[in-house]
Symmetry: C2
Subunit: 317 residues, 2 copies
């Protein structure tokens, strides 16, 4: 049997990873699998940083960023600041079929989605609106408005050997209108080459862009590094560099998979992810930065999962 | 005397290179120099791909992309699809001072410029409008709507050793609303690290993004390659890869300078650029792809310059 695999950021991706796994095990394409995976996260209203239920910008408007990349052809499609579209990654995938105009932002991106028959809906759920209103009140008492920037970023490897990458996010909670993060940016939020492997990012996009980290991880895998070494070598020295040069580094995490289904991750914060391959059942793991530029990966505990479920469904007070 | 230098894409950058050179020779900062250089191009109405006089999108609206990067801190600012702002690169530079929300697109970008006192003006000149109307008519007879994507991309090295990068463009002529190219994308349109050097791109952004070429050139310089070798090694194999994998490659050109003021360029099309350093007077050169993944660089001829002057001022018929 040919190998297949998929890895995606955050616990929220797990149900999508399970769905994508079935598709890949049945010889589905890498593109279909990554779109299915991300669509699942986009549609679930209790994930507050992606798709339906995603948190809005400062003005109360949900603006989404997404990208899709075909690792065979290197074709890319991306959207930034798109509104009212249920599945931003599907719009990005449609754009990836165009040689010109494959990255669209703002109204132009939204128009493209409307004209091409994508499902449009008001993406601001009552729950997200309540969070936004709560935060508006809190802002009168704090000067640190930004947190929550959990992108779903995913890599898939099909039994054919083809790979794909995708990302989707509603971006930084309380962002300024039109703020775009790393998720739709080639090389920063995502990159994949079927002859090597792929990588995707989540975290503070403004800092991920400064290091073009997804490209750097794929490049290192191309030089023969394991996905884990590539993640460790690309991410940890960059965090030190950023602290030295820029004075600080936001939180970010990356996942990678090569074209053999081997995978890796690196992070400067507690980070969950989900992974499945033809050799290992879909499971949620937790990563933390370890000593000497390494990453500690362990199974997530039932206690953590229970607390997570409780947290995402808790009333907004 | 400490070395300084600057390199920028296209003949149109030359007057800006001369201005930036004076600034750098008098120990001006790399950031001021790159902004001054690009502002000069943005303000000149006869350059039809940047700033005032830039060609509009399909709907007749001038939408601009720009970026600024500080090679000391790696801070970046960028705008995509911004409207009515005279100096898009200056808006990008202002954004680079923010840790959050440093890349803004569409209406959000335009609002930021307005709120922060940037000069706003209708960027559609009569001349650009005439070209657009002419093209609308031609489009009834052709299926190849896109050409003209001449970004000004520039790198500066100050006597202090600091470096900066900047880009500005009105993007692909007749682009769809909200289309964003490589110019505001870290690693694709630009990248600079004062401990190494910088690179910037012009050409079909959709393809430049597929290779993250500016980052790759800087990375290669960081491994000790000369700017010319880094350009040749990053660009030509990628063009072959793109042709093989994607089936075609658009036109693009890159320039690079390291922190010693050495420079290089690579291109798959006739490409002019302007360069000046503490060792060489500002001059316009022409690059063409040479044999075996090399670049042929020669002084631009007076005949070429004369024809250029005539062309940019010719009536639109």
């Amino acid at each position: 049997m040919s190998k297949w695999g998929t890895i995606a950021t955050w616990r929220m991706a797990h149900e999508g990873v399970v769905k994508a796994s079935k598709l890949l095990a049945e010889n589905g394409t890498a593109g279909d699998a990554v779109e299915t995976l991300i669509n699942e996260v986009e549609a679930f209203p209790f994930y507050k940083s992606v798709g339906y239920g995603g948190l809005p910008n400062e003005e109360g408007v949900v603006e989404m960023d997404a990208a899709f990349m075909d690792g065979d052809t290197l074709a890319q499609g991306a959207v930034g600041g798109i509104q009212n579209v249920k599945h931003a990654v599907s719009v990005a995938r449609a754009l990836s079929h165009q040689h010109y105009n494959s990255f669209r932002v703002g109204e132009g991106a939204t128009k493209f989605a409307m004209k091409n028959g994508f499902e449009m809906t008001n993406m601001l759920t009552d729950r997200a609106k309540a969070r936004w209103q709560k935060r508006l009140k809190e802002l009168q008492a704090t000067d640190k408005p930004y947190d929550g920037h959990d992108t779903v970023g995913a890599i898939t490897l099909a039994t054919s050997g083809s790979m794909a990458a995708g990302t989707s996010t509603s971006g930084l909670f309380m962002k300024k209108a039109g703020r775009v993060g790393d998720s739709p940016l080639s090389g920063s939020g995502y990159y994949v080459d079927s002859t090597i492997g792929g990588a995707a990012a989540t975290g503070l996009g403004e800092d991920i862009m400064k290091g073009v980290l997804s490209y750097e991880i794929v490049r290192r895998m191309g030089e023969g590094e394991t996905p884990q070494d590539a993640c460790d070598h690309a991410v940890y020295p960059f965090i030190e560099k950023l602290k030295k040069r820029y004075g600080k580094a936001g939180e970010f995490s990356l996942v990678a998979m090569n074209n053999q289904g081997e995978w890796g991750t690196a992070t400067n914060v507690e980070f969950t992810f989900s992974v499945a391959t033809s050799d290992e059942l879909a499971r949620i793991l937790m990563a933390n930065p370890g000593p000497d530029h390494t990453t500690v990966i362990e199974p997530v505990t039932q206690a953590w999962l229970d607390a997570y479920e409780k947290r995402i469904h808790a009333p907004i007070e």
